[in-house]
Amino acid sequence: MPKPGTIVCPMTGIDLGVAALGRPDETAPQGEAPFVAGSFADEAGFVAACKAARAAGRTNLQSWTPYAVHGLDPVLGLQRSLIGRAVFSVAILGFVLCFGMQYHLMVEDWPIIYSGRPYSSWSLWIVPTLELGLLLGALVNLFAAFHTCRLIPDPFSHLPDPRTTDDRFCLAISTAEAPQVELEAWFHAQGAAEVALFSAEKAKAEPEFMIPGQPAAKESIHA
């Protein structure tokens, strides 16, 4: 039996990944409690801090990096992206629909002898079938990526440190897991270059903190 909320392909039994589209936003800190965010100047220190946080039993984590750090997903306990299954399913659907459309139009709706070929020239329909199926797959791929990454035009970026799109690696831990002071001390012990208190609400209220060179949250920076 499939899990509640999932949609399974009737032919292959594979989870279509539709449930993943409705998952809570993994790209923003969860819950009401603010996060303590530590910025690291290099990838190695950041990955070590992530491992240490998980080893210490922290589960409500979030991270921001300037590029994809390979090997971070298992450290942070992230699952494999299910976009692939959604795209595969839609591409198969596109193949079936396009092939069916050609069969209907060329054989049933208005059969015409064309270049002496039979009405049902299935081998000649492969190209439109392939092209349309892949096009649908590409469209679903992009919009699934937009949806799962929560990408919509937004005048402000809600980052704990604007340099995370440049040269900083940032790890945030919810204060629901440990007191703020304890987390700040922990980040310093891990070698964080800067530590700050961060919440998504605060970021929305104070867009000016995004100016390059300005600290992320002025009142609790410990350089």
Partner: protein
């Protein structure tokens, strides 16, 4: 230990966008903008006076427009090779050149798309290209390669644009977070808030990208899937165009080697265009550390490989014509050697075969002037190749009574020159708006390795 840091990479790659445009850029931009209007004039003359504005006649119905169409499609194909096929083969060096070649793909394909629309003769009824029933409830004939072509181009162009944009999103976010919002251009009577406008532009284009672990996980998945989708699309697309010719009975077209011939020729010509763009670009923007001689060397080696396949197919075409014992095929290929447009054939051989042999030598593959020379010659050669295939085959078909000569009109020259103007106009505009080397991908390639070695 590498000398690269994330900060340095960001600074180097965003510098061309945030500094004032150079005189060379302004000159190039204005020239290409002016040249683009040649295309506008040619299209206006054609819409006003009909298809007779161009040099086509009752025998050679496919002329400059179709030759240029296949040429520009070929340019686009090489971009997908670098962005998708090399990604699937895990060639990390592609990160130095993939953005420029992807941009080349997108700009070449939109120019290529113009030519079939012009070629229809009545562009105001081009909506019939979209498969829908006519007044008799009759649909397009899906058994025809002409209809396949519409699907192929539409699918490939759309996917290329989506892939290109997805790759740009993290870099737009980097630009968004580096804009100085207080930057303004004071003209005395008015102050233009350039910083705020840039901020608005990059915020909109980056779609609120955050770069969280979950973001990157989904992003990388989607990015690699685009590579999986684009690769069969691009090979299928250019094979479809080749099939469109090969299924006809015209001597010179009716050959089963056309699909691999067209795909390898497209990669060959496209890589030549990529070199033609990358070599000046790396010097103008001081990107020699990112687009290195190693990159150019590798591109030249791929060119040599696919160029050798193209040379082999040139020989095979002649061998097949001789071996087939078909007088029409033999006549066609003798016409190419000694006919009215023989100069085009011999010049093509010189550009695509003779000049290419320089790439057997390492010192020529690593010399920017030789690279530019060969790339320039191959671009000429590849356009001539399409001219030979399309025009010369039609000029000399089965019936001597049909034989006719094709000649460019002034509007043909304007159309061709204008297409180059439009291409360089778009490319020059793009390099001032977005990083021409993929920032996030280069950081991952250079720094990830550095950290692990450290």
């Amino acid at each position: 230990m590498s000398s690269f840091t994330a900060q340095k990479i960001t600074d180097d790659l965003t510098a061309p966008i945030f500094r004032r445009p150079s005189l060379a850029w302004v000159a190039g931009f204005l020239t290409s903008f002016a040249l683009m209007h040649a295309l506008v004039i040619a299209v206006a003359a054609y819409v006003w006076g009909g298809y007779g504005a161009f040099g086509v006649n009752s025998t050679v119905g496919w002329g400059n427009d179709i030759a240029s169409y296949i040429y520009w499609i070929g340019i686009a194909v090489a971009g997908t090779l670098v962005s998708s096929i090399l990604l699937l083969f895990r060639q990390k060096w592609r990160t130095g050149v993939n953005r420029a070649t992807e941009a080349m793909t997108v700009f070449a394909i939109n120019i290529a798309g113009l030519f079939p629309l012009i070629h229809t003769g009545r562009p105001w009824v081009d909506f019939w290209l979209i498969p829908h029933p006519n007044d008799l409830a009759l649909y397009p004939q899906f058994k025809s390669p002409i209809v396949w072509d519409v699907f192929a181009i539409t699918g490939y162009a759309t996917t290329s644009v989506l892939f290109f944009y997805l790759g740009l999103i993290p870099d737009f976010a980097t630009l968004r977070d580096r804009v100085n919002p207080k930057l303004a251009l004071n003209l005395g009577f008015v102050s233009i808030p350039i910083g705020k406008l840039q901020r608005m532009l990059y915020s909109s284009l980056s779609l609120g990208w955050k770069g969280t672990a979950a973001n990157w996980r989904h992003y990388e998945r989607a990015y690699s899937q685009f590579a999986w989708i684009s690769t069969p699309l691009v090979i299928g697309m250019h094979s479809t165009i080749a099939t469109l010719l090969a299924v006809s009975l015209v001597p010179g077209w009716h050959a089963s080697c056309f699909p691999p011939y067209f795909v390898s020729g497209a990669i060959f010509g496209g890589l030549a265009m990529a070199l033609l763009l990358l070599v000046p670009l790396r010097s103008a923007f001081k990107l020699q550390e990112y687009i290195t001689l190693d990159h150019l060397d590798k591109l030249a080696k791929i060119m040599l490989g696919v160029g050798s396949i193209v040379t082999y197919i040139y020989a095979i075409e002649f061998f097949s014509a001789w071996y087939s014992e078909s007088q029409f095929e033999k006549g066609q290929f003798l016409y190419r050697l000694f006919g009215g447009h023989a100069w085009a054939f011999w010049l093509m051989l010189f550009c695509n075969v003779v000049c290419l042999q320089l790439f057997w030598f390492k010192r020529f593959r690593r010399n920017v002037w030789t690279l530019l020379f060969v790339a320039f010659m191959v671009n000429i050669g590849m356009w001539l190749e399409r001219f030979n295939i399309i025009v010369l085959s039609l000029e000399h078909d089965h019936l001597p009574v049909n034989w006719n000569h094709y000649a460019f009109t002034g509007f043909d020259y304007l159309l061709l020159a204008g297409s180059f103007g439009m291409f360089f106009f778009q490319f020059l505009l793009f390099i001032r708006v977005a990083p021409i080397v993929a920032i996030a991908e280069v950081k991952q390639t250079l720094l990830h390795k550095t950290n692990h070695h450290a």
